[in-house]
């Protein structure tokens, strides 16, 4: 991992189009940073992104379509996918 020391107001440039700006350091533990990136580059807090990723993997997958097929027949859900998480 590349580790850099930066002061408030200084910038880290990634590629041609991503900039990370150190905005503020609060009580030695919290760093406020600004991120400039193209709209097609998703930027998220890691812990939140990981939760969404896990939820998508739980909800998605081949079982989703099978569940829908089962639920569409006579109003019943197919139980063949009910153990998928």
């Amino acid at each position: 991992m590349l580790v850099l020391r930066r002061k408030i107001g200084q910038v880290i440039q990634i590629n041609d189009d991503i900039r990370i700006i150190i905005q503020d350091v609060q009580n030695e533990h919290i760093v406020r940073i600004g991120i400039e990136a193209p709209a097609n580059i998703p930027v998220h807090r890691l812990e939140i992104y990981n939760l969404i990723q896990q939820e998508n993997k739980s909800a998605g997958g081949a079982g989703a379509l099978n569940w829908l097929k089962g639920a569409s027949h006579d109003g019943s859900a197919s139980d063949e996918n009910s153990d998928e998480t």
């Binding site: 998220h44 992104y49 990723q53 939820e55 379509l65 829908l68 859900a77």
Partner: protein, 147 residues
């Protein structure tokens, strides 16, 4: 809010006019960018399935303003990503999870899907203002299996 045009085909087909392009993919499925819509006749639930990675498929249902209040707002930079200038043109969908709870089909209010139906573009927007517990909002009871 009307659901996007739905197909009855079992497998999504690569048709330029019908596939939705997700420039960012979905969290955990970032390589899946082209999705076909499959409708199986179950209420307003539709399945989107990746054309290139068929293992990536999700159940979606339209945002319900009567239950949930107004639709979310999409940050300006993400509007650009799906070529939206007028936020009222966004079709908001919720990702359903029928596998998380034995009694309930849950809906992810934290990360709904924003669609530009006209341009066939979509993205998953992670909302900063929503409690994490709403990742699994109880949406509807599990369909009962007939005995």
């Amino acid at each position: 809010m009307a659901a996007p045009a739905m197909k009855t085909a079992m497998k999504p087909e690569k048709r330029e006019n019908e596939a939705f392009h997700f420039p960012q993919g979905l969290a955990g499925f970032s390589d899946a960018k082209e999705f076909g819509f499959i409708y199986q006749g179950h209420g307003d639930i539709v399945c989107i399935q990746s054309i290139d990675h068929p293992e990536a498929s999700f159940l979606l249902t339209p945002w319900d303003e009567k239950r949930l209040g107004p639709t979310p707002s999409l940050p300006q930079e993400l509007c650009k990503c799906i070529h939206i200038e007028d936020q009222t043109k966004i079709m908001w969908m919720l990702v359903l999870n029928p596998f998380a709870d034995k009694d309930w089909v849950t809906a992810n209010l934290k990360a709904p899907i924003a669609l530009n139906a006209e341009a066939r573009l979509g993205l998953q927007s992670i909302r900063p203002d929503i409690d994490l517990a709403d990742i699994r909002y109880h949406w509807m009871p599990q369909p009962q299996i007939k005995s």
